[in-house]
Symmetry: C2
């Protein structure tokens, strides 16, 4: 019988599990309380001021029902703001706060350190290969999850 550990799905789960643990440890040691998911959302809000929740979800491939709670927590921590859109009364425009900007800036070294640690078993070339292969597999499977990645339309 094939070992679980030889299945890509199982390896995916395990790598993700380690990645999250490393991220939380590094960021926690730096004195911040922010999850990988919250970090990605906050960084994307900063890079795309005023975007709505669906667009944000598409940019980081989160489900729209997941993003609601993530933003709730960012708002609750004072890192982001959610306000009604004037163009479309269904939509909420998202903005990063000064506090959010400060947090992002100060947290960056820990985030970068985490990315290095989760690849620490690999050489530089192997790390690049892994990222390239993951990218390729993800691109091919993008439409297979309920929350595919969506580019911003011009």
């Amino acid at each position: 019988m094939k070992d679980n550990n030889d299945m890509p799905g199982h390896l995916a789960r395990r790598f993700q599990q380690i990645a999250v643990a490393v991220f939380l440890a590094e960021v926690g040691d730096a004195g911040f309380d922010l999850t990988p998911v919250q970090y990605a959302a906050l960084a994307t809000i900063k890079a795309n001021p005023g975007l709505d929740q669906v667009t944000l979800a598409g940019l980081i491939a989160y489900d729209r029902t997941t993003i609601t709670g993530v933003i709730d927590r960012l708002v609750q921590k004072g890192l982001a703001e959610r306000r009604a859109s004037s163009r479309d009364r269904r939509a909420r425009e998202l903005e990063i706060t000064d506090e959010g900007r400060r947090t992002l800036r100060k947290i960056t070294p820990a985030v970068e350190s985490a990315q290095r640690i989760m690849l620490r078993g690999l050489s530089a070339k192997e790390g690049e290969d892994l990222m390239r292969l993951l990218h390729k597999a993800i691109a091919a499977g993008n439409e297979l999850s309920r929350a595919p990645l969506r580019e911003v339309q011009a």
Copy 2:
């Protein structure tokens, strides 16, 4: 600013997200209601009859608090049994049921199909490379998560 999509942590999350979606779709189409996590647990119980929950958790790198619920659901579906150990009254010995065995056998094609689909963007060699690199990164990071992989001691 570095794009989220260039961070190994983000790629890990996305690949895992797709892997789970593909698994559920293939297994669901085959007429079964089993998650990737439940499948791995059930297959590991079958391969190691009578093992206790902590050992099971170690073999598939699940947290001990997570495994409780997973087993609850396997038992509830009639696929596994949990009974008190005679050697150690704290421990629960796990066994697969006939129904569980039948399910595992019938579900295998769908599981294998899912593994192929999640790598469909890659050539055979690229797929092997990805698995090898994931393996290596995971081995180096094994102790960094709360739920590391543990071999069975002889």
